[in-house]
């Protein structure tokens, strides 16, 4: 089986400071990979290198494209990479306002990716937008409202709908539950778990919250100081951590 994405020796420095170093892993279709670590551990740098937002200093990110099979997205042309990011890829930002157009209605936000790939039938676009609002538990009657009138949790669900409407094959998520109230987080996690299961989504989720990976991720990578210190099946890593840092991480969560 071909990996959906194959990351090899990704390294990114900021001057003398190491963002992430020599990170390698494969993700297969239908898998959800969690990447945990404290802030400054390099997990966000790694995510942005994989999603094409940052250019790594070294390494490759080979993605199994729909049209042309495995391609290194680091060296492909910018138009090709931008095309991937509006078709096969999706990116859920921690802050919904970074991933939404706040001056555009909910329907327009969900419809944008459809229009970006050529949808030109207003009625169809709107029907799909309404369908997706319902799938993320937003009342269809809000389709013409701007996200500025939505709660934080609704904004995040709208961002997810906007990303998933074109059926991406890989979803990058950067702290998707960060900054939300605990009860709102729980609802969002339930929703994400349902979507991952129903759509067979492949995803890479960066978080500092072990509850998120416990619920969503099959696999887990633990990062510290730009390095991967532990890597394995989520349950295995969390229940029987091998690395001292992971043990600390897990125990500190259990004590909370």
């Amino acid at each position: 089986m071909t990996p959906l994405i194959s990351v090899k020796d990704i390294t990114k420095s900021y001057g003398a400071h190491i963002g992430c170093a020599d990170v390698s892993f494969d993700l297969y279709p239908g898998e959800v990979m969690g990447i945990v670590g404290e802030s400054g551990s390099g997990k966000s740098t790694l995510l942005n290198c994989m999603a094409g937002h940052l250019r790594p200093d070294a390494g490759s990110v080979v993605f199994d494209t729909r049209g042309h099979g495995p391609r290194d997205t680091v060296t492909m042309s910018e138009p090709e990479r931008r095309m991937l990011s509006r078709t096969d890829w999706a990116f859920v930002h921690q802050h919904a306002r970074d991933g939404l157009r706040m001056g555009v209605s909910a329907g327009g936000n969900v419809g944008e990716r459809l229009m970006a790939v050529g949808a030109r039938h207003y009625g169809d676009i709107r029907d799909k937008a309404v369908d997706w609002l319902e799938r993320v538990e937003i009342d269809a009657g809000r389709v013409d409202d701007r996200p500025t009138t939505f709660s934080g949790g609704m904004q995040q669900r709208l961002q997810i709908a906007r990303n998933l409407v074109t059926g991406p094959r890989l979803v990058f998520m950067d702290e998707p539950t960060g900054g939300l109230d605990v009860s709102v987080q729980a609802r969002l996690l339930d929703l994400l778990r349902g979507l991952v299961r129903d759509m067979g989504l492949s995803a890479i989720i960066v978080t500092h919250d072990l509850a998120v990976v416990r619920l969503l991720a099959n696999r887990l990578m633990v990062m510290k100081d730009g390095q991967v210190v532990e890597n394995g099946l989520t349950d295995q890593v969390l229940d029987d951590p091998q690395h001292a840092y992971t043990q600390l991480l897990v125990s500190s969560v259990l004590q909370v």
Partner: protein, 291 residues
């Protein structure tokens, strides 16, 4: 009238005119593409068509016959002052008659009289960037143009329909040029959009404050953006002209007395006067062309 000796022909120095002509030629070579140019201070405020004036200055020759319209009219302050400016600085002949003009500078209209080969239509453009409505970052809009990422234009039209039930954008209606660049045709009414395409004249667009020039060479394909289920419509007020009875021209609604009386008249004053001179009378002149 002889040109004042204080100025170079058409005010701008030859070096500047060459620079603007290069931008125009580049624009003509890549229809719809916004070419940056170093806009000069002109002896009139921005908003008075300094971009159009610089383009006109660069293309005018002593043999030209120059016409200026402002929202279709030859006699507004803005039109008169630009016409006078080139009478003084270039000594060119001027006219109000569309068919005999060789260079026409316009704000917000395309003349009703079909343009012909050899004519140049120069538009005054306030905001050249059609994507700015939803994407304020210039670096990003430039990238979107170069990569043909135009989904956002349809988001704007989508928002129109979701809010108004139809595409409510009625002027500066975005177009796609030769299936490549999305272009803002300047704030002309969308009624004029069909005249942009397959036009025998050269069309030049100048934005002074924004320092951009773009162009449509003769007979360029220009398509107004729309949805399959909400097709583009070149609409206008559903009346004939009160003065000349024309039912195919773009109309302005004007207040005619202090009791709130209104009438619809051609916005293109030259067209309207030409029809009246040919004997056409609208209902407000008691004519039988009245509907």
């Amino acid at each position: 009238m002889t040109p004042s000796s204080e100025y170079n022909f058409a005010y701008l120095d030859e070096q500047t005119k060459r620079m603007i002509r290069r931008a125009i030629l580049k624009g003509l070579a890549i229809p719809g593409y916004q070419v940056p140019f170093a806009s000069r201070e002109m002896p009139m405020p921005y908003g008075w068509g300094t971009g159009g004036v610089q383009v006109s200055a660069a293309v005018l020759t002593p043999d030209d016959r120059f016409k200026v319209i402002d929202q279709g009219a030859d006699d507004t302050t803005n039109a008169v002052s630009i016409r006078t400016f080139f009478e003084r600085t270039a000594g060119v002949a001027t006219t109000t008659a569309t068919p005999v003009a060789t260079v026409i500078q316009t704000r917000h209209r395309i003349p009703e009289e079909p343009l012909t080969e050899g004519q140049v239509l120069v538009y005054q453009v306030p905001i050249p960037e059609p994507l700015r409505f939803l994407e304020p970052r210039e670096s990003e809009t430039r990238k979107m143009h170069s990569l043909e990422e135009y989904g956002l234009m349809h988001v704007k039209l989508y928002e129109d329909i979701s809010r108004h039930g139809h595409i409510a954008t009625s002027y500066a209606y975005p177009v796609k040029v030769e299936a490549r660049y999305v272009m803002d045709p300047s704030p002309i009414p969308k009624f004029d959009n069909p005249k942009l395409g397959d036009c025998p004249a050269i069309q030049l667009f100048g934005a002074g404050r924004e320092q951009r020039i773009y162009a449509l060479p003769p007979y360029t394909q220009v398509v107004s953006l729309d949805f399959e289920d909400h097709p583009f419509e070149a609409s206008k007020a559903d009346h004939p002209c009160g003065l000349c009875g024309a039912d195919d021209s773009y109309l302005d609604e004007v207040i005619v007395d202090d009791t709130g009386g209104r009438m619809f008249v051609c916005s293109d004053t030259d067209y309207c006067e030409g029809r009246q001179a040919a004997g056409h009378r609208g209902k407000d002149l008691g004519g039988k062309d009245a509907a």
